[in-house]
């Protein structure tokens, strides 16, 4: 095979007149695609407390405890059996453990876990990484 010295010289010279390939983050906002997997949000009104997300999570990052405040049971209608109140659930999400696979959101039968595109989640105080959604 024929050897050609300084094969890259012309390429290097043309790069003198090109814009940098890197972006100016954090001064310039970073773009993510529509399918990017970010932080998981929680909608307490939809959650039925089935714990499917807790069981499926590969990094044990979710807990679904009962809320401290519960709704009172609806008043008993005459001639009808008493209806129990709908239970309220909280969500404790450990962002430090989460691997952002979105398996919980896909498993949730009521779509109570909401997917977002948030990715700027770094914290100096580790306790702030545990989010308590009510």
């Amino acid at each position: 095979m024929k050897l050609k010295p300084a094969r890259m010289l012309s390429e290097v010279l043309t790069h003198l007149f090109k814009k940098p390939a890197t972006s100016g983050y954090p001064f310039e906002k970073a773009r993510v695609t529509a399918r990017f997997r970010g932080r998981i949000d929680f909608d307490s009104g939809k959650c039925i407390g089935c714990q499917m997300c807790v069981r499926v999570c590969p990094s044990k990052a979710i807990e679904i405890p009962l809320s401290e405040e519960q709704f009172a049971a609806p008043p008993v209608q005459q001639g009808q059996p008493a209806v129990p109140a709908k239970k309220q659930f909280d969500c404790i999400m450990k962002l430090g453990s989460c691997v952002y696979c979105w398996q919980c959101a896909e498993t949730c039968p009521k779509h109570a876990l909401i997917t977002t595109q948030d990715f700027e989640l770094a914290q100096i105080d580790p306790s702030k990484l545990v989010r308590h959604y009510k």
Partner: protein
């Protein structure tokens, strides 16, 4: 001249991952090389036994950052085979597509690493800049640059829309042009040739004898590629060439990987134009009847083997991973022996090592001549005790 033994690693500027090579030197020449594994053992196989099949998907994705799709595809094929599930063809096509994009990203990364070890930093910067294009493709399709998580048991999680197809094709065409240029640079530039030719020689017979896999074997003229030998997914329907080179040195490994990039572009275009209509997943029950399965996968570094034993529960009884680097490490000692000390980083980098994927440990008691297997709780307890002796207390966590 007196012989001197020097350790290379586990912490060494030339190695990106912790691994130890004991080199016996006579002057500048290496007389003998031994590899010591086990500095980065993570106990993943044991951890997999404690998790359900779906949780293991995300654990095994983290065996290796660069071949994350290879490991999950191999594992998920095992699970589907054990559960006797028929995966839809569209899902298989998407798996091939992501697998080939992953190969492109891995080979471009390696080309940069090799250029860096050669001392050709311009080529390193250019290949890594262009690699962003393929990483963007992967983020566009799967939602993440590295851990794609596109596989699920019974199919794939994300579909491909026509807009995405056009976007991927646009980027692949750009990369194809760039790769043609890099092939010219790698083969015609005298600096690359002077540094890489006749370094780390691995003759055909030795490559066969030591069981080299992937591009390392193909650069020694061994026609070995799982995609051709035992086609999985859709590879038997696709048209591509098996690239070999007979120079048996680091230069051959550069050429094989660069030419394989062109084959991967060809495969990506074929799959994007093929994409059969149909569902993305089939339902697989969470509990899987007792079965034993083995599957092979051609990862960017070579043949990846997964073994799975199920026992009727929702967790595997045994999972075994044989990463390609473990097979290639046998050849590294041969390549190093007789070579020069200055060539060591280049020769090690030439097999595209992924030490963390490879690391494994077994407990062998020399006094009683017994091997012992620890379970998850034992390993955790031993770990906490070992750190306590060093003055760190993890028992509270």
């Amino acid at each position: 001249m007196s012989k001197i033994t020097i350790p290379l690693g586990p912490q060494h500027p030339a190695l990106k991952e912790p691994e130890n090579f004991m080199l016996v030197l006579e002057g500048e020449q290496i007389e003998n090389a031994t590899i010591n594994l086990g500095y980065n053992h993570r106990g993943m196989e044991k951890a997999a036994e404690e998790r359900t099949f779906i949780q293991n998907m995300y654990l095994l994705e983290r065996v290796c950052g660069i071949c994350s799709h290879s490991h999950t595809t191999c594992y998920v094929t095992n699970v589907e085979e054990a559960a006797k599930a028929e995966v839809p063809e569209r899902a298989l096509a998407i798996r091939v597509l992501v697998g080939e994009l992953e190969r492109v990203h891995s080979h471009l990364l390696w080309l940069g690493v090799a250029a860096y070890e050669i001392g050709f930093e311009t080529l390193f910067m250019y290949t890594w800049r262009d690699r962003e294009q393929v990483l963007d493709c992967l983020e566009l399709l799967s939602g993440n640059r590295v851990h794609y998580s596109i596989n699920t048991i019974g199919g794939v999680r994300r579909d491909i829309t026509p807009e995405q197809k056009n976007e991927v094709l646009k980027r692949i065409n750009f990369l194809e042009e760039r790769t043609k240029y890099y092939i010219k640079v790698a083969t015609e530039e005298p600096t690359v040739r002077a540094r890489a030719a006749n370094v780390g020689k691995l003759p055909y017979e030795v490559a066969l004898e030591r069981g080299a896999v992937g591009p390392t074997a193909r650069a020694s003229g061994v026609k070995r590629d799982v995609r051709k030998d035992a086609p999985y997914l859709l590879y038997d329907k696709l048209d591509f060439n098996l690239i070999t080179h007979d120079s048996c040195d680091v230069f051959g490994r550069v050429v094989v990987r660069a030419l394989e990039l062109m084959e991967s572009y060809k495969l990506i275009k074929q799959v994007l134009n093929y994409l059969p209509e149909g569902p993305l997943t089939v339902k697989v029950p969470p509990r899987i009847a007792p079965a034993e399965v083995v599957n092979l996968y051609e990862a960017p570094r070579g043949e990846d083997i997964h073994y799975l034993k199920t026992n009727g529960t929702d967790k595997p009884e045994r999972l075994k991973v044989r990463a390609p680097t473990l097979a290639n490490l046998q050849s590294v000692t041969y390549m190093l022996e007789g070579g020069w000390l200055a060539d060591v980083p280049l020769v090690i980098a030439a097999i595209d090592p992924c030490m963390s994927c490879t690391d494994r440990a077994m407990v062998y008691d020399r006094k009683t001549d017994k091997t012992q297997v620890y379970d998850w709780e034992d390993l955790r307890r031993l770990g906490i005790e070992a750190y306590k002796r060093k003055g760190v207390d993890f028992s509270k966590f």
